[in-house]
């Protein structure tokens, strides 16, 4: 009898821990991020480190490099002045939201599409890049566009937490979707034949096809994916600062320069059309 009581006690303790843990999930910090950043002269950005052209870790000097990194640096200077520093923290599609809400990062600039569902959780700036979803296949593959994937037995690879995996379910509902943890792993899976096509935004896919000439983007884009900078809910001042910094960077020509720097060599990408 005693044993049963102690066992029930143990279970109750566990349950209590679980409940108390779930209760603290709603502890959003009520500080003013913009004010804090102005004091420390640093903005902490959550950026991708596995995405060629946007944000990719350079293993030679351990620096993340890409269009988003350069844009973030330019915008930081606009918001905090010349001596403002941008600090970069590597995020994935999965970790970026929790990190932002915990306050580990101040803003997300990580190929994040503005969607209504996400807008309920975070505040978005205006779009800073207009991407669209496409598919990447091996050269000579019978798959020419997204419609060719809509049959039983087709396997599409995507990345956990990206909205491209939600979209592909609409455009090719019969295909099986495998969600891998990041883009490099998804590409590896495509190369080893675990799937017929890899789907995500065209900008990212172009980056992959530059590195891997045996693979190409086919069929053009089938969705519109405007990338936005996300800040935590209730940080309206930070979002406004982001928007005005983006406008300034666009107006003084820095934006177009960065666009040229990163995208002028990409075949099939209309970077003139993306200029602002």
């Amino acid at each position: 009898m005693k044993k049963i009581i102690s066992r029930i006690g143990l279970l109750l303790t566990l349950l209590l821990m679980v409940v108390s843990l779930s209760a603290c999930s709603s502890s959003a910090s009520q500080k003013n991020v913009l004010k804090d950043d102005k004091q420390t002269k640093t903005i902490t950005w959550g950026v991708k480190a596995d995405t060629k052209l946007f944000g990719l870790m350079d293993v030679r000097d351990n620096q993340i490099k890409g269009f988003e990194i350069d844009l973030a640096k330019a915008m930081t200077k606009q918001i905090l002045g010349k001596d403002g520093k941008a600090r970069f923290i590597q995020v994935t599609s999965q970790t970026r939201m929790p990190l932002l809400r915990n306050g580990n990062i101040d803003a997300i600039m990580a190929t994040m599409t503005i969607t209504p569902e996400r807008a309920k959780q975070v505040d978005f700036s205006r779009s800073y890049f207009d991407a669209g979803q496409a598919i990447l296949v091996k050269n000579g593959s019978p798959i020419k566009n997204v419609k060719d994937l809509n049959h039983n037995g087709a396997v599409v690879l995507g990345v956990v937490g990206s909205n491209s995996v939600q979209n592909i379910k609409k455009f090719a509902p019969k295909a099986k979707v495998l969600q891998l943890s990041d883009y490099s792993q998804a590409l590896t899976a495509l190369k080893s034949g675990q799937g017929d096509a890899l789907t995500t935004d065209n900008g990212i896919l172009y980056g992959m096809s530059i590195e891997n000439p045996g693979y190409s983007v086919v069929g053009g884009t089938f969705t519109k994916e405007p990338y936005g900078i996300a800040v935590d809910k209730g940080q309206g001042q930070m979002r406004d600062a982001m928007n005005s910094a983006l406008t300034k960077v666009e107006n003084n020509g820095q934006y177009n320069k960065l666009l040229y720097k990163w995208f002028h060599k990409v075949k099939g990408f209309d970077f003139r059309g993306a200029e602002r």
């Binding site: 566990l14 937490g161 495998l178 899976a189 034949g193």
Partner: protein, 212 residues
């Protein structure tokens, strides 16, 4: 937490099923292979002992994720197409069997050598002595550490998440990014893992008491 169960219950249960399936398959094969190599480690034939030693040291000292990625990426490229679930399960079997082999070997060696000598003196062959005299005693000794290995195996099955094996952890990742409620999702996943491992843990305790 409750809303996660309501909205994604099907996906979570499917993940639980895949984790359970993978764990059971891996547990059976790892136990058989592991025990086999444990016996090979103590046979009189030196060549067999060396083979067993190499197998155990290789798979015990490579991270599970590396073994799994090897089967997920390299094998389909050159040999045969295998899915994430299969490659994860194979990885788990190889990895766990090395640990189980070491555990069972320690059990075999803790049986007094006199037992085997007695068996041989009474006309039993080495394999008969192993089968009827040494192994029954050895398994009794190793039930507590073996229970640890089994629990580890169930938890290690979360490696399937990295190769899209649709297990509990994979579903957890997908749901967390879909619902944007990471905290409650992973709590649910944790609770479901407990549902798998706690009964296993209690059963091993029970076995221990019954056989000791």
């Amino acid at each position: 937490m409750i809303s996660i169960f309501q909205n994604y219950g099907g996906a979570l249960l499917y993940g639980l099923g895949q984790t359970l399936l993978c764990s059971i398959i891996a547990l059976i094969f790892a136990l058989i292979i592991g025990s086999g190599f444990a016996i090979l480690e103590v046979v009189p034939n030196k060549f067999l002992r060396i083979i067993a030693k190499i197998y155990i040291e290789v798979f015990r000292n490579i991270p599970l994720l590396v073994i799994t990625m090897f089967f997920y990426v390299v094998i389909p490229m050159y040999i045969v197409e295998i899915s994430g679930f299969v490659s994860g399960t194979i990885g788990l079997i190889l990895y766990s069997s090395a640990f189980i082999a070491e555990t069972v070997r320690s059990g075999i060696q803790s049986v007094d050598p006199g037992q085997m000598e007695g068996a041989r003196a009474n006309g039993l062959s080495f394999w008969q002595g192993m089968r009827y005299i040494v192994l029954p005693q050895a398994f009794r000794y190793v039930i507590p550490p073996l229970g640890n290995q089994f629990i580890n195996l169930v938890k290690n099955s979360s490696v399937l998440a990295f190769v899209a094996g649709f297990d509990l952890m994979y579903q957890g990742n997908v749901i967390a990014s879909d619902s944007l409620q990471s905290m409650s999702t992973y709590l649910c996943v944790g609770v479901l893992y407990l549902i798998l491992t706690l009964p296993l843990s209690y059963y091993m305790r029970y076995l221990e008491k019954k056989l000791a």
